[in-house]
Symmetry: C2
Subunit: 125 residues, 2 copies
């Protein structure tokens, strides 16, 4: 028996899985970040939508704005002409530079947390 692969989700499914409200998911659609289909009135989300949502939330954890996440999502789509692709490459490098900076920031902050912890423990002795 081969496991069935789920290929579509309701708004509630996604809300539960990623621990966000349905309002949030609809908001992202308003902003053009998600494009669910409709079965009647009801939204039906594809694997692509689910991936996009994952991207958005990961972006949020790193302090990205929705505008920035929008670009990240675009990087997943190969539907672009030459000029757009080259612009995309630019954005990719920008993002990468930002990530490198964030890595540095995290390293420094980790060291500082270590020191802060030491000071705390010293005081408690």
């Amino acid at each position: 028996m081969t496991a069935k692969k789920i290929t579509s989700w309701s708004i509630g499914d996604l809300a539960r899985e990623f621990d966000v409200t349905t309002r949030t998911i609809r908001f992202y659609e308003d902003e053009g970040l998600l494009q669910p289909e409709r079965r009647g009135q009801t939204r039906v989300y594809s694997a692509a939508d689910r991936t996009a949502l994952k991207l958005i939330l990961r972006g949020k954890r790193l302090g990205f704005s929705l505008a920035e996440s929008r670009q990240l999502i675009q990087m997943y789509n190969p539907d672009a002409n030459r000029a757009q692709l080259e612009a995309l490459l630019g954005k990719i490098h920008e993002r990468r530079a930002q990530l490198v900076q964030q890595l540095r920031d995290i390293e420094v902050m980790q060291l500082e947390l270590d020191e802060a912890e030491q000071r705390c423990l010293e005081c408690l002795k």
Copy 2:
């Protein structure tokens, strides 16, 4: 001749150094994140204020709220009683956990950027 070490800054100094507006710096003071002294009317910032500002801005790059940065700043101050210190240790661990998550997010995102770049380059060939 030994180099003089600067120990105080004007609001303009800090604004220039960290590329923020003076409005922003005063706002942080309103929020209790900075505590400059006064020479008459004029604010005079100490090394501690400068460090705090650095913390805030690094926090911002990682998506921290000012409330979170406020806690980070507190971690630099050893002026606390036992209960506060233990609470502080808790916050330190929370922050560390968040940083670890961010590190994971960054790694994944870097890989995805690599892939996105490959796809871009493929399309351009």
